[in-house]
């Protein structure tokens, strides 16, 4: 099989897509937003509990979508739990660089290892939006601005 495909559908990603972490609706969320990709009809809802300092005390998501969007949401939730809002924002910026094949400076080794799992998507420009849907939805949940993110509009 070709290497780009093997990297995209590597075991870590398939495992997250089959057994997503932090999956399911959250009672008592302080913030939430729905993301929608009109190209494929995929939806994701991100739920957050932000504490008084704006730290991500808890995070969950639910939705239907492709392996990439589900794995990306699951890995994002793993990565963001316990982070400050500022940290989360920085991670998101790094992630958005990596999925476009751009360098992402200022990452700890652990964070880089986690985020780079998704880096293979940069070889598949038509699929980048699948990977970014959950992250954009997270940002909207934090900002409590628009409640629905339309990934195709970006």
């Amino acid at each position: 099989m070709d290497n780009a495909l093997r990297e995209l559908y590597q075991e870590v990603i398939l495992d997250h897509s089959r057994h997503p972490r932090h999956y399911g609706a959250m009672g008592g969320a302080s913030h939430q937003a729905e993301g929608y990709n009109p190209l494929c009809g995929d939806r994701v809802t991100v739920y957050l509990k932000l504490d008084a300092d704006g730290r991500v005390a808890d995070i969950a998501f639910e939705g239907k979508g492709c392996a990439i969007s589900q794995a990306s949401a699951s890995m994002m939730a793993d990565l963001l739990k316990g982070r400050s809002k500022e940290d989360a924002e920085k991670l998101m910026e790094s992630f958005l660089h990596l999925v476009k094949g751009e360098p992402a400076p200022d990452l700890s080794d652990d964070d880089r290892e986690m985020l780079e799992v998704m880096g293979g998507i940069s070889e598949f420009p038509m699929r980048v939006k699948c990977a970014t849907l959950a992250w954009h939805t997270f940002r909207n949940a934090v900002e409590e601005g628009r409640n629905t993110v339309e990934e195709g509009a970006r």
Binding site: M1, D2, A4, L5, L8, Y9, L14, R18, L39, C40, G41, D42, R43, K64, G65, C66, A67, I68, F124, M126, R127, C130
Partner: protein, 415 residues
């Protein structure tokens, strides 16, 4: 005009393939297997060459100048209209309005024909398997004029019950808008019966022929249909060109939709009068090269024995249907009797976009998504499907590549 290429019966798929330069290319180092002709068909060299030749020899704006080239280009453009007339067997050439595609053809009917005739509460009957281009223009009339959309369901196999459609046509129905062939299910609708049942109640019928005209021989007079929309790029022709067939009596009574040059008779500071159809509906400089390209594509297509082309496509579909039936994790959506060469399916635990990405890396181009048919997706309780759509240039080897790619996708995603 370029002479149509005659190919003797039975249909010789290899001879047809050889006319499409793009089909010999590779993607990711693998031979291209193009199964997305339902989205847009590839173009034979004869179409591409004719457009280049026209641009290099006879091109100018149409219906304007008195100079030599303007006359030559106008001849080509009006000859193209007669080719479309012949392709659809319209009674008159001026029943053919050139548009930029099927979408604009349907919008033209919505704005110019139906909008002035709609009172709040009037109804438009349409099926759940329509493409968005045959849904959204009617939603505009719902939003703006208070029209009511009456939806006709399809059976679980994707077939349309004419009785159910007939029952949906009531005293307030102003139009039946129906596809000739579903772009997702492949279902071919019994247009003649539909028109008969609508006309018995005095209701006109519009058919979206964007898929149907590619695979079926269309005779608008035999169908007695009121409006029939086609698009060029699915008919092996260029993008940016399509046509609306409309009965002359309708066209004559329709007000213009776009205003501009060429659609008027006279303009003064306080008054205008309009040109006769079809010019009335062709404001601005039309897609001149594209019209000529479409005509060559249609002549080329009519040069085949279309019954044997259809037999070839149906045989491919039957072969593909049989081959995928071995996958117990795959569910075909749309199995209506007599359906056209489109195979849509969903796969357990495999999202259409993952499937399409993996197939793509095998060189197999399919469409994944909702296919601009979200009402139909809702009907079949799916968010998306994977769709292989066949054209006359596809082969059994293409089906084999699809089937091998599906097995590969299963392996990648399920180990």
């Amino acid at each position: 005009m370029t002479a149509p290429v005659k190919i003797a019966m039975p249909f010789d798929v290899e001879a047809a393939r050889a006319q499409f330069p793009i089909l010999s290319r590779t993607v990711y180092g693998k031979p291209l297997v193009y199964l997305d002709s339902g989205a847009s068909a590839q173009k034979p060299a004869v179409v591409l060459d004719a457009m280049t030749d026209f641009a290099q020899t006879d091109y100018a704006n149409v219906h304007r100048g008195v100079h030599f080239l303007s006359a030559a280009a106008t001849d080509r453009y009006e000859a193209a209209r007669r080719t479309v007339q012949k392709f659809l067997n319209a009674a008159r050439e001026d029943e053919i309005v050139f548009t930029k595609g099927g979408t604009e053809a349907i919008n033209l009917v919505a704005y110019s024909y139906l909008m002035p005739r709609i009172q709040p509460g009037d109804e438009i009957v349409l099926s759940v398997m329509e493409h968005h281009s045959n849904i959204v223009p009617w939603h505009f009339l719902r939003e703006r004029c208070g029209a009511v959309l009456r939806w006709v369901d399809v059976a679980d196999d994707g077939s349309l019950d004419v009785g159910a459609l007939d029952a949906a046509i009531g005293p307030k129905t102003k139009l039946v808008a129906i596809t000739h062939m579903s772009n997702v299910l492949g279902t071919v609708t019994p247009l003649k019966d539909i028109v008969a049942s609508a006309h018995a109640k005095g209701v006109p019928v519009l058919a979206d022929g964007c898929q149907g005209a590619v695979h079926e021989v269309v005779d608008v007079q035999a169908l007695d249909i009121d409006f029939y929309a086609i698009t060029g790029h699915k008919l092996y022709g260029p993008t940016g060109i399509g046509a609306l067939y409309a009965k002359w009596a309708h066209l004559k009574a329709m007000r213009p939709f776009n205003g501009g040059g060429e659609m008027i008779r006279e303009v003064t500071k306080d008054r205008i009068s309009y040109a006769d159809p079809p010019a009335r509906f062709e404001a601005g400089t039309p897609p001149i090269l594209e019209a000529a390209g479409l005509a060559v594509a249609l002549d080329w297509l009519m040069g085949f024995d279309r019954v044997s082309v259809a037999a070839h496509e149906h045989a491919l579909l039957a072969y593909a249907r049989d081959q995928v039936s071995r996958f117990n994790w795959l569910r075909v959506i749309g199995d209506a009797p007599g359906k056209g060469a489109i195979l849509s399916f969903e796969a357990d635990g495999m999202h259409a976009h993952d499937l399409a990405t993996i197939l793509d890396r095998e060189g197999v181009a399919v469409r994944a998504g909702h296919h601009c048919a979200q009402v139909l997706m809702e009907r079949f309780a799916v968010t998306s499907t994977t769709r292989a759509s066949f054209a006359l240039y596809n082969t059994r080897a293409d089906v084999d590549a699809l089937v091998a790619g599906l097995a590969r996708a299963r392996e990648v995603l399920h180990g």
